[in-house]
């Protein structure tokens, strides 16, 4: 059960992370790997849906979704067929803080794959028919999720936690906003974000540093120089201590809860991460899992995690339980949070958490796609190219006092913003409102009316 040997696993990779200098001051991180005939590339641009104009949420998401729907001389159908003929996988996505491109190809098609990636990033067409088509697709997804209990709870939580802040706006937009977005708005978002000075690149596979440098140079040559990002203030979530009920005719209540947490580069991020792992992190022995699921059978799913966004650190969690057990479940969860704040972990829990976090780190690096993703996140988070080598030592060095202090700060008085969707009982003092549009049968307006 020694953790020293498992800690060596990511080290095998770190010795191989190479910094590849490209033109225009940019760089790419590379893990050269020749045993599997696959090349995975991830490219990210800082500034995701938080860069949406206040009156037009969803622009960045729609822009990202349209990047592979026609570029340069290739209309959408031709572009997609060209990918298909070579089995090149290229997709674009966005979250609150970044726009991301994921590329996977067989090595023999690498030049063409990179060419298509470059074309998509530098010269997207945003043809009217493609805008309309993908806009409809995203709208349909919004309508589908409008009364999904978990999705509704999450959306309501962010709207309550971040009023007036970009994080409080729906990252995927609304049915109305998507319908109002045209080519000009998309070109504007594209011009502001997809630039040389804003790019982060990770590559894994059968490609030499020299070759990668050449490919990246060609990609950069086609991009404009400078991004123009809206300044997003760093804030703490609001409404902590409040409970919101959104009534929906379902037998189970879906709950999202949370409060402020550390930013990724805060000094106590790692101790806080350890404290959360013990409370509700991803193994079958967390306190929440034990108390809520294992001992009492109150829920199938109960968890908590740290979500360090660029402009707000968050502690978040969720549980889904029968309506008449909602109060009992959230009381138990809150009691565990308070107990962790006041007592901290036991030595045994801390030891177990350190061993798990150290040993399982290697599993984040076990496919090319996952490694490429790690390379990009290490850069976005500005953790340094040596972070993979240092990370397990950082976890190993965490003391009981560190975790106790971090837990006290993280969980404080244990107050939470709680959003419960369903027909929960046992939540005194909650504000209650009906699910948007649930009294009527349809109306696309459902998505926007979530308050």
């Amino acid at each position: 059960m020694s953790s020293a040997s498992t800690a060596a696993a990511p080290q095998a990779h770190v010795t191989r992370i190479q910094r590849v200098a490209a033109s225009h001051g940019a760089e790419a991180w590379l893990v050269e790997e020749n045993t599997v005939p696959v090349v995975a590339v991830e490219v990210a641009f800082r500034g995701g849906s938080a860069q949406d104009p206040a009156e037009l949420p969803g622009v960045v998401g729609l822009m990202a979704a349209l990047l592979d729907e026609g570029a340069g001389e290739l209309r959408a159908e031709t572009f997609q067929e060209t990918l298909e003929e070579k089995a090149i996988e290229l997709s674009f996505s966005s979250n609150r803080d970044a726009v991301t491109a994921s590329l996977r190809t067989l090595p023999e098609n690498l030049d063409e794959a990179f060419g298509l990636l470059s074309l998509a990033l530098s010269r997207p067409r945003f043809d009217d028919d493609a805008v309309e088509r993908i806009g409809s697709q995203l709208s349909a997804q919004l309508r589908r999720d409008a009364l999904d209990p978990e999705d509704l709870a999450g959306r309501t939580f962010f709207a309550e936690a971040f009023p007036g802040h970009p994080y409080g706006r729906p990252p995927r937009g609304t049915v109305e906003s998507l319908a109002a977005i045209g080519r000009q708005e998309l070109l504007g978002a594209h011009r502001r974000l997809i630039t040389r000075d804003n790019i982060v690149i990770g590559a894994v596979g059968a490609v030499s540093p020299e070759r990668l440098a050449g490919l990246v140079d060609r990609l950069l040559a086609d991009l404009p120089e400078a991004a123009s990002l809206i300044a997003v203030p760093t804030v703490a979530p609001a409404a902590i201590g409040r409970t919101e009920i959104v009534t929906l005719d379902v037998p189970q209540t879906s709950i999202v809860f949370g409060r402020s947490g550390p930013l990724r580069n805060d000094d106590d991020f790692i101790p806080a991460y350890v404290a959360n792992h013990i409370l509700g992190g991803g193994s079958f022995s967390s306190r929440l899992f034990t108390e809520v699921r294992e001992k009492r059978g109150l829920a199938y799913s109960v968890y908590s995690y740290l979500s360090p966004y660029d402009h707000a650190g968050m502690f978040l969690g969720g549980v889904a339980t029968r309506n008449d057990r909602a109060g009992q479940s959230i009381d138990l969860i809150q009691a565990e949070i308070r107990r962790m704040a006041t007592e901290g972990p036991t030595p045994k829990e801390l030891d177990g958490a350190r061993k798990y976090l150290i040993g399982s780190y290697a599993l984040r690096f076990d496919t090319s796609t996952k490694i490429a993703n790690q390379l990009v996140h290490l850069q976005l988070d500005e953790l340094g190219i040596d972070y993979v080598a240092r990370r397990n030592d950082l976890v190993a060095a965490v003391t009981e006092d560190d975790v106790r202090a971090a837990a006290r700060k993280l969980f404080g008085d244990g107050e939470l913003l709680v959003v419960a969707v369903g027909q929960p009982t046992g939540l005194p003092g909650a504000r209650v409102r009906p699910a948007p549009g649930s009294a009527e049968s349809h109306a696309p307006a459902i998505v926007t009316a979530r308050g």
């Binding site: 709208s139 999202v256 079958f284 022995s285 199938y300 061993k355 798990y356």
Partner: protein, 453 residues
């Protein structure tokens, strides 16, 4: 929201086509059988010093007796509740301390448990897994709360999601005699009555080394695994001999069926049609390979026929596609789905789908379409080699549903050999309305509230 990784997820309530398509030759796979009948498969992947250890039992929800639906999945959860040697939670605790990840899943035809750990811990997880193969001990104290957990799982997956409810109704209508018509997780009223005795009876009937497949993928070689397997699983005695897996078969379907679910919580209507289809196991020739290609050509992404016709050209659908589920011991399924754009009636989508199907059945695929589909499916098998966990799942799922290692490895060649005529013929044979169930998901007015909150 990031999801938790709770024990005992029902991984395949909806069949997943990507995994199905991503069969692959992979590296030098070795296989042998222990004296007690346990089949062992070793898939080397030397890139990182980690291993994926999976045990697959050749038993799933379709092997349940009538009236105890959900017992296969319930038992999967209860397998984490301890043995004579190791009390409840010890195995999970040890896996966590090793920095390992673990989980389990139940499907129609198999139940699988896995751990991912550093290579030097392989023997530890093998010893624990071998111990719980026949050593499970259950008390009402642990069984009863876990039944509540499963009822919550069902509420999450089904009760909160009208489209899942429609999915259950479609499957129930499609399989008029075969237990594939019963949800993997079980019907709520039957889950409520499951107890310790049901679980142990099921366990003693099906959990035995001669009804299991051990798959180890990662930084190991076959001889090493053989030694470890002899020391651990090799000590487990076979406790029952199982005959062939014969479940009630489907009669030849004669009537097109239609199910409709209308609910106030449906905010986006949708249409789906499922056809009873041959699986890799029931097919007599290359129909299953042709069906994988057919699903790619008709509905695999934005260059596919259905997507092009409904989404791009006619603009009636927001999205549309197709999938084929062929990794079944008995009949498989071929499905087409479409999401209408705002204001478009489902009947318009259905008419457009039927036109496309008729055209395809008359003409078959073009050579360019067929080539593109083959390239795509074969590339998936190469991409699969990038993930030892994916390879382990591909081999495990195939072997647990009657396939062989040779068949998995020959899959790309068999795909390459399918002719356009074969794809057209399988479309004509399978896409027959009489073999189908059409499901409509519709919104409905809310019932009037009798009392305010």
């Amino acid at each position: 929201m990031a999801a938790a990784t709770p024990a005992g997820a029902v991984a395949e309530l909806k069949p997943q086509t990507p995994a199905d398509a991503a069969r692959g030759a992979g590296p030098d796979v070795a296989s042998f059988t222990l004296a007690n009948g346990l089949q062992v498969v070793v898939i080397p992947d030397r890139r990182a010093p980690v291993v994926t250890h999976m045990i697959w039992y050749k038993v799933g929800s379709a092997d349940e007796s009538p009236g105890v639906s959900g017992i296969a999945h319930f038992l999967e959860h209860l397998m984490f509740k301890g043995t004579a040697k190791h009390p409840a939670g010890e195995f999970s605790h040890v896996v966590a301390e090793l920095g390992g990840q673990e989980n389990a899943f139940t499907s129609y035809d198999y139940t699988s448990y896995f751990q991912r750990v550093a290579r030097e811990h392989l023997k530890t997880v093998m010893a624990f897994e071998a111990d719980r193969m026949t050593g499970l001990q259950l008390t009402d104290e642990v069984v009863n709360p876990e039944r509540d957990v499963i009822l919550e799982e069902r509420r999450s997956r089904v009760d909160g999601d009208p489209s899942s409810q429609l999915g259950e109704a479609v499957a129930a209508a499609l399989f008029v005699n075969h237990p594939y018509g019963t949800p993997i997780i079980g019907w709520e009223h039957e889950i409520e009555k499951l107890d310790r005795h049901d679980a142990i009876a099921f366990y003693e009937r099906f959990y035995t080394p001669n009804n299991a497949i051990l798959v180890v993928a990662g930084d190991v070689d076959a001889e090493e695994v053989r030694g470890l397997a002899e020391e651990t699983y090799g000590k487990v005695e076979r406790r029952v001999d199982l005959g062939p897996r014969v479940r009630p078969r489907e009669p030849e379907p004669r009537a097109a069926r239609r199910v409709r679910l209308a609910d106030p919580r449906v905010t986006q209507p949708s249409l789906q049609r499922n056809y009873l289809a041959p699986s890799y196991e029931t097919a007599t020739g290359d129909e299953a390979y042709a069906l994988d290609l057919l699903s790619q050509i008709m509905g695999g992404g934005s260059t596919s026929r259905i997507y092009r016709a409904l989404v791009v050209e006619r603009g009636v659908a927001a999205n549309a596609g197709a999938w084929y589920y062929g990794d079944a011991l008995d009949e498989g399924r071929f499905a087409i789905y479409a999401i209408p754009r705002a204001g478009v009636p489902l009947a318009d989508l259905e008419a457009a789908i039927d036109e496309e199907l008729a055209r395809f059945m008359a003409e078959g695929p073009t050579e360019a379409e067929l080539d593109r589909a083959k390239t795509r499916l074969i590339a998936d098998t190469i991409y699969a080699q990038d993930s030892q966990a994916t390879l382990a799942r591909i081999y495990g799922a195939s072997l647990a549903t009657g396939g062989t290692i040779e068949e998995v490895q020959a899959w790309p060649a068999r795909i390459r050999a399918v002719t356009s005529g074969a794809v057209r013929d399988v479309a004509r044979a399978v896409l027959d309305p009489r073999r189908s169930v059409t499901g409509e998901l519709l919104s409905a007015p809310a019932p009037e509230r009798l009392a305010a909150e």
